[in-house]
């Protein structure tokens, strides 16, 4: 990894939302090349807004956001093609007529631009992305025939087909069974290690990622804490953000106290 690391995403006192309905307020945060960052916080704390901002889907209403050291005042600045994205799992129409390879090739469309068709090179990039997520043998399968975990792998491959420098994943394990959750997180870690990708991973599952990420960013409309997991996951900080129900057990597992008592 390059050292000193080059800052590639820089929020400078940036606020997002609408006047009267601020989703993120006064955020100052720098993310460097090759970092593996976990973004945590309660529901409605602005985690998805942070992603959408980096993707260029939202402009700051105050302050600045620099991507690859470009001020990017215009949404959809060309730099943002270097950012791959796995959106929060919506309701995938299981019958949508699309194959796995067709889905991954869609990741090339932004880079291709209008009027150009995907060619052999794009197909090779898409196949390579499928290989990286271990789904190459499913390339001709209908997307709807895959399990939830396999579909997430395909969507990660679509993000990789953009040949990104940054990978943003918005709650990639939601709705998956425990094995599939583990596999997806393992895959993300592998991609970070192998491809030297900068990763922003939004999740509610702090236990699953705490040992893997370089840094945790804790949001609750404002930036509450940012640093190595050990510095962020302190009882007083967590209580401030999540309320008193959240405790850290002797084995360092973070659980909801009420849940613990009743089960």
């Amino acid at each position: 990894m390059p050292d000193p690391r080059e800052p590639i995403i820089r929020f400078d006192h940036a606020s997002f939302g609408f006047p009267g309905l601020i989703a993120l307020k006064d955020i100052s945060l720098t993310i460097c090349d090759g970092e593996f960052v976990g973004v945590i916080g309660p529901n409605g704390s602005g985690k998805t807004t942070l992603c959408r901002a980096v993707l260029g889907l939202l402009a700051p209403i105050e302050g600045h956001l620099h991507i690859f050291d470009c001020a990017c005042d215009e949404l959809r600045c060309h730099h943002r093609a270097k950012i791959g994205y796995l959106p929060q799992k919506g309701v995938v129409d299981r019958n949508f007529p699309v194959t796995v390879l067709e889905t991954v090739i869609m990741g090339r469309y932004g880079a291709l631009g209008l009027f150009k068709r995907p060619g052999r090179g794009d197909r090779a990039i898409a196949l390579d992305a499928l290989r990286q997520v271990g789904m190459e043998s499913h390339k001709d399968d209908a997307l709807g025939h895959l399990s939830g975990g396999q579909q997430q792998r395909v969507f990660i491959a679509r993000a990789l087909a953009q040949q990104p420098r940054v990978l943003i994943l918005d709650e990639p394990t939601t709705g998956l069974d425990i094995t599939a959750q583990h596999n997806v997180i393992e895959l993300v870690q592998h991609l970070h290690d192998e491809l030297k990708l900068t990763v922003l991973l939004i999740t509610h599952d702090i236990n699953m990622i705490r040992s893997r990420v370089d840094r945790l960013v804790l949001l609750k409309t404002r930036l509450f804490a940012s640093g190595p997991p050990a510095d962020v996951l302190k009882p007083d900080i967590l209580h401030q953000v999540y309320g008193k129900d959240l405790v850290i057990t002797e084995k360092d597992l973070i659980i909801v106290e009420d849940y613990h008592h009743h089960h």
């Binding site: 889907l57 919506g90 019958n95 007529p97 699309v98 869609m106 469309y109 025939h145």
Partner: protein, 276 residues
Amino acid sequence: MLDLLAYDFMQRSLLAAAMVGGLCSIIGVFVVLRGLAFVGAGTSHAAFAGVALGYLIGWPPLLLAIVFGLATVWITGWVEERGRMKLDVSIGILYTTTMSLGILFIGLMKTYNAEVYGYLFGSVLSVTPEEIRIIGALSILVLGLLLVFSKELYFIAFDQEMAEASGVPARQMFFLLLTLVALTVVVSLKTVGAILVFAMILIPASTAYQLTHSLKTLTLYSSAIGIFTSVAGVLISAIWDVPSGPAIVLLATTLFFIAMFCSPKRARRVRLAHSH
């Protein structure tokens, strides 16, 4: 039947039906995939209000149909984009408003005008050579734009937010799709009529949707079904002397139910249900 084919009006009708059937069924693929079924239904009624106004004030009816159709889809798209209201609610309001305007305009005409009702119910057998040229030109325009932007339109139909995040101009593509739906409706008004045009957009694509998992095959099947049912519907209409619009739509609906029962997707769902 061969005698019938010798008539000019019959040849024109079949040509118009084939063009409209092909066009509607191809745009229908995007409408079905993007979940815009109700938008198309609303647009056809709005376009009819334009036709009625055209006859009332003596302006070209198709021109005003385009204006009304475009205004409706653009307002609908804008409302959805702003998240102010659910799409089905906004189109429901516009749909009934424009239909009310259509009825009002007809009411304001002092005399009965059979041509206006032709646009409401469709009269493919009376298509004129000039109308064929207009249908042909607009079909080429719509199909050309669909072809040029097909990869972006497929992407926004699949996942608009993801398309936007990947650098595809998703918002512009959504409005392009709405515009093409409005133009298709206007092109088809004379042949199948405002009430039934939407069946032509929806049914062939929905039928094809039952049969395949591939985007390309879906488009091919849909256009084949659209052209076949339109041409066969016109022939049925001429041979048995029944109205052409219902003949086309009822034939398409029959194919839809056959496809649904023979669907490999349905077979898979049944297998899955039994295995659980």
